[in-house]
């Protein structure tokens, strides 16, 4: 295992990637602030995850859109929408929505909690597998927003007076919040602290 920049008294800029001495606080090349590790990364990540769990529940329980058809108004939750597509035998689309809106955010929250526990030394896992998990959580995060965009298009298009109209439901706001919060949580986590722990244990 190679020595880390921190062990060698150096810090890498998160904007322009230039390596400077660890005593410097501002990057000489792009003038960004230098941090050897993201500030309070585990603490921030857990706090943001906590907030996103709070948003996750109403996002899935409340209706994400309200459909008025021939004077009858009914709410449609995300899982309800998945069930309708499944009954219509539109299996691929039901799967896409279920994975993007329910599975990904849920798994992402669990994965980040696991990584935080790993960074604190509470659980054990090979750091390379941890890298893969972190890489995946960063990669898939944005795709949860897909249902919000579906609602956006449906609300904008289906305005046919009494015949049929769609309005956004209360879950839309909590859903947007949940996606943004989980993305912020993933960004605030620093995978390098997992490797710091591995370096300490392997050297002692």
């Amino acid at each position: 295992m190679l020595k880390s920049a921190q062990e060698l008294g150096k810090v890498s800029c998160h904007i322009c990637a230039q390596v400077s001495s660890i005593e410097k606080h501002v990057c000489g090349r792009c003038h960004s602030d230098l941090h050897s590790r993201k500030t309070n990364s585990v603490q921030r990540c857990i706090a943001l995850l906590f907030a996103s769990v709070i948003a996750y529940i109403p996002a899935n329980v409340w209706p994400i859109m309200v459909i008025t058809q021939l004077g009858v108004t009914e709410g449609s939750t995300i899982l309800g929408g998945v069930a309708i597509f499944w009954q219509m035998k539109a299996y691929p689309i039901a799967t896409v929505i279920f994975i993007a809106s329910v599975l990904i955010p849920g798994l992402k929250i669990i994965a980040l909690i696991w990584l935080c526990a790993l960074a604190k030394g509470l659980v054990k896992m090979s750091p390379k597998s941890a890298n893969k998990i972190y890489w995946l959580t960063e990669l898939v995060g944005r795709w949860s927003m897909v249902d919000v965009f579906v609602v956006a298009i449906l609300v904008a298009l289906i305005q046919m007076g009494n015949l049929m109209s769609i309005e956004p439901g209360p879950a839309a706001v909590s859903f947007i919040l949940m996606v943004v919060l989980t993305m912020l949580a993933a960004h605030s986590f620093d995978p390098r602290i997992i490797w710091d722990r591995v370096r300490i244990t392997s050297s002692s």
Binding site: A5, C30, R142, D196
Partner: protein, 230 residues
């Protein structure tokens, strides 16, 4: 060595360039690699940097085409919905306006931010940096624009919106006749242009080039000042 040097990008110094893996912080010497090649971390195998062929040309060309398709996406008809003889055609701008009027203000702002403002900012910042760089120059505030370019990247959601459009199409198809306009095709082209332009140039190469251009400007400024004093 001269042959290899021709295929790499200009750097301020020939030696002493280091890079730390952003996953495991292992420190490496930046070695010159040929066009099309990439370098990975020796400890955890994460990609460290690549040498993209014709990087500046690609970033500028796809950036400009992206800007063109961006305008197309906003202004041209996006979707036409034909239900019982009454047809509705909306562009992306109209979609957001209708959304806002219909009470979906938070969703309207979300679309506005992730589909309009951030992609436009990333295209603008890329062109602001790369067009002058292809002549070895930089414009004022290049560091701030470069910072924006780096920070905004994870928040671009045009391809997610594209998937959302496909899903809503399937929902709409049972209600009415749906047809896609040029705005929709522009969005697909924008999605591809964005991906090609942003990944067209490696971060290390971009900043090495900016550093060289800034140093050259300082040198020229110093020469001009010196000339006046004489």
């Amino acid at each position: 060595m001269n042959f290899l040097h021709r295929q790499t990008w200009p750097r301020l110094r020939d030696e002493g360039h280091e890079v730390a893996c952003h996953f495991c912080d292992s420190l490496h010497e930046v070695e010159l690699i040929e066009e099309g090649q990439s370098a990975s971390c020796n400890t955890c195998n994460t990609l460290l940097y690549r040498n993209r062929p014709q990087s500046l040309e690609r970033a500028v060309a796809f950036g400009l085409s992206g800007a063109l398709f961006f305008i197309g996406m906003l202004a041209l008809p996006f979707i036409t919905l034909d239900a019982q003889g009454s047809a509705t055609t909306v562009s992306m701008v109209e979609t957001v306006v209708r959304l806002w009027l219909q009470g979906g203000r938070t969703i309207a702002i979300t679309v506005l931010a992730f589909i309009f403002v951030l992609p436009l900012t990333i295209l603008f910042s890329l062109l602001y940096i790369c067009i002058p760089l292809s002549r070895g120059k930089t414009l004022p505030g290049v560091q701030l624009v470069g910072y924006l370019f780096q920070v905004i990247q994870p928040w671009i959601m045009v391809e997610v919106f594209f998937l959302g459009t496909m899903v809503s199409l399937l929902k709409l198809m049972k209600l009415a006749d749906v047809s896609m306009g040029f705005g929709f095709w522009s969005m697909i082209a924008l999605m591809l242009s964005l991906a090609a332009s942003v990944s067209g140039i490696d971060r290390i190469e971009l900043w090495d080039r900016i550093e060289v251009a800034l140093a050259r400007k300082d040198q020229e400024d110093a020469a001009v000042e010196g000339g006046v004093e004489c």
